[in-house]
């Protein structure tokens, strides 16, 4: 009887010990702060900037709401139309005229043994990503407006934008930006020049006072768009 009790006791002691160890080890792996002071401060700054942006947006929306509420019916309709115009501009459904840059992509014939160069979607995507990163407001490639829903695909050895094939080189990429000089100088020194050179495409970048970017021509297909509650890694 005593032996039985001792066996059980030892087992229970072991169980308690192991359980505590288990809880401890799984808990320790969870929240382990490895950032140093500076990184945390930077993160805090980013979050504060984001908060400011959001506050700004909220204020704008509140003003619009106030407009809707306080004005007469006629004015309400006008305010609505204004909102629609603004949203259409944001979605890329209107023509834009502003200062910006024009990038001309021309075939480079210096290496004669090469076949006629073509613009691969990877390269075009990279160019567009870089432009967006350097503050492009609106982009069009050979009069095809690039919007959030634009797909760039490679079908039967042709590059398609907005379901339409791009013509052969030379091509013209137009970019509107609030700070054209900055984007111009960024693109001048960008690594992407080498990438284009590797594909035998030369790149010429010109500053223009007035760049005209055409609207997106098709209907927006929003059938499969859902509001996402999740915030994924990298969202800001």
């Amino acid at each position: 009887m005593v032996k039985k009790q001792i066996i059980f006791s030892v087992l229970l002691a072991l169980l308690g010990f192991l359980l505590v160890g288990h809880l401890r080890s799984t808990r320790e792996t969870e929240g382990h702060e490895t950032k140093d002071n500076w990184e945390i401060r930077l993160q805090l700054q980013e979050e504060q900037a984001r908060q400011q942006d959001l506050q700004q947006e909220l204020n704008d929306l509140n003003t619009i709401k106030l407009q809707y509420e306080t004005k007469s019916e006629q004015e309400q309709i006008e305010a609505l139309y204004e909102s629609i115009d603004l949203l259409e501009m944001k979605a890329g459904l209107t023509e834009l005229r502003d200062s910006g840059i024009v990038i001309e992509l021309t075939p480079n014939y210096q290496q004669t043994d090469q076949s006629f160069p073509e613009l691969k979607p990877e390269l075009l995507t990279r160019l567009i990503n870089e432009l967006n990163a350097y503050g492009a407001e609106a982009i069009s490639v050979e009069n095809e407006r690039i919007i959030d829903l634009t797909a760039i695909r490679y079908v039967k050895s042709k590059t398609y934008i907005n379901q339409r094939p791009l013509p052969d080189l030379p091509l013209e990429v137009k970019v509107i930006s609030t700070n054209p000089e900055r984007i111009h100088s960024y693109m001048e020194v960008s690594q992407i020049r080498n990438a284009f050179a590797m594909h035998n495409i030369s790149m010429e970048i010109n500053l223009k006072d007035e760049v005209i970017i055409p609207p997106y021509q098709d209907d927006l297909n929003l059938e499969y768009i859902r509001v996402s509650d999740q915030q994924e890694e990298g969202d800001q």
Partner: protein, 126 residues
């Protein structure tokens, strides 16, 4: 009755005091070991209630279970297959079975006791 509880407290206390922490790699092993201990405990309680408890059998069973579970986990780790799940499944299944048996046995014991008591009363009344 109090000795096991005291030892449980001692075990928990030791765990807290030694600040042991297991590297992530060994967490699978720990899980399996904890399950084996649980299984041993409930198996022991079952055997005790059925009056079939033999300490030699119990200890050897516990140790062999432990060895097999750890071996499975080790092989699984080497083969990159979660073999320890086999042990988890088998032990979990046995846990539930043992608990069901313990429950039935306790209920039977309770009924027996009641019957005895009532029998005593009736005798007294007569």
């Amino acid at each position: 009755m109090w000795l096991p509880l005291l030892f449980l407290a001692v075990g928990v206390g030791l765990g807290l005091l030694t600040e042991l922490s297991i590297p992530n790699y060994y967490v699978d092993y720990l899980t399996v070991i904890i399950l084996v201990v649980f299984d041993g405990l409930f198996g022991g309680i079952k055997a005790h209630l059925k009056n079939e408890f033999r300490s030699a059998l119990f200890i050897s069973g516990f140790l062999s279970n432990l060895a097999l579970a750890i071996l499975l986990t080790f092989i699984g780790n080497q083969l990159m297959v979660d073999l320890f799940l086999a042990a988890v499944f088998a032990l979990g299944f046995r846990l539930f079975k043992n608990i069901a048996i313990i429950r039935r046995q306790l209920y039977a014991n309770y009924l027996n006791k009641k019957e005895k008591n009532e029998g005593n009363k009736s005798i007294r009344v007569e």
